[in-house]
Symmetry: C2
Subunit: 239 residues, 2 copies
């Protein structure tokens, strides 16, 4: 396959992509009509249609009935394992600027569910950390995390707008080395819709995560709601 020159429609798709990435065609803007592009590139309309189809398939363009073809807000394609290890690093990898707001950071008496997940006796005290995480100023995910108070009582000294939870746990000899995650989908309720800046009932990823330390103790129980329109996750599985 390496000997075959890149077909014309691929070259045009690459050129259109460059114009999208440099903002010549901004997000939600219409790109020129097929006939105009055909004239510009000196090719037939079917060739232009092939090039556009490729960018539609790859999620860069969207055909809108009657209006034409618009530039789409692309999803952030995250490596599933990476984003668990470090949200900030994974955003960096994609050239996106991460930002974290701490919505709530408190201690409370854990409810039964949290005690179950963290293998704690009933009515144990836990830290409750609620973070809203952004990429390029767009809200991406809201995460509620429970950590047993007894394990790292001085966790409250940290500012989780600035430091990573996993790095903080590692620095306190309680590194998370294995996570179990359950994947579900839900609709955004009113509160979450407001926080994530989406319409109510939009689909969200809904992940429950239990983080374990080396000695297999559960040290973290997190509930995350990711915007469905902005996120996608890649997983590689060897069978």
């Amino acid at each position: 396959m390496t000997d075959i020159p890149m077909p014309k429609y691929r070259q045009i798709a690459d050129d259109l992509l460059k114009k999208i990435q440099t903002g010549i065609y901004p997000i939600n803007a219409l790109i020129p009509k097929e006939i105009e592009l055909a004239t510009f590139y000196g090719v037939s309309r079917p060739t232009i249609r092939q090039a556009i189809q490729l960018l539609v398939n790859d999620g860069y363009l969207d055909r809108r009935k009657k209006r034409g073809t618009i530039v789409r807000q692309r999803k952030i394609v995250q490596e599933f394992t990476h984003v668990i290890a470090s949200y900030d690093q994974e955003m960096d990898n994609h050239g996106l600027i991460p930002m974290t707001k701490v919505i709530m950071f408190t201690t409370e008496v854990a409810d039964n569910e949290v005690c179950e997940r963290l293998n704690l006796p009933i009515d144990s005290i836990v830290f409750k950390l609620v973070r809203l995480r952004y990429a390029n100023d767009q809200p991406i995910v809201i995460v509620t995390t429970y950590i047993p108070y007894s394990v790292v009582p001085h966790l409250s000294d940290y500012d989780f707008t600035a430091v990573s939870l996993y790095e903080t746990l590692a620095a306190n000899n309680t590194a998370v080395v294995r996570v179990q995650r359950r994947l579900e989908v839900i609709k955004a309720d009113e509160t979450v819709a407001n926080l994530l800046n989406v319409q109510q009932n939009e689909p969200l990823f809904y992940f429950h995560t239990i983080g374990h330390t080396q000695d297999s103790g559960a040290i973290e129980y997190s509930i995350a709601k990711y915007r469905g329109d902005l996120n996608s996750f890649n997983i590689d599985v060897s069978l």
Copy 2:
């Protein structure tokens, strides 16, 4: 923790769960009121409330405003890796009866997206296999799969209501040994809603999978839509 006897509310939760699993409390039926259960088990209402909370958290029960507490349709918690390897086996593992309907099985000229994913020259011929898969007579997932015609031209001899695609590929010296999967969420459109027996706009898992053989060739491109209300996936990740 092993020396502590199981708390009363846990014992009651286990007894209630047995009644759910044996159908004494069927799906969508109300369970008895808190006060009745307190009398029956000879405990306080807060203890009953704790037991019910546990079953709510685990997805067996659902509190409905004004009506009371009902038995929920539980999600099938699938091991992510297992269900990729074999849908039938994973359903078996959960005591569910798998069934597959072949909605379409044909050859066609692949569109550009499919050619890209399978590393095929433009306008290659592919098999297109559309399967609707069930567990206990409920539709769980609809999967559209593309396989290069040239690799296994006699694939059409097989009846995929009865045999597994991955086993068939393995039997033809083209075993899938590694898959790349992209996870997204979408809303059900009218067609998919009808096939999966859900309301339109309900959230679905939306997976794109490329299956690779040992020599790294892409041999399978699949697009799957899983019901969000019936499915959840477990993933274990070592960091």
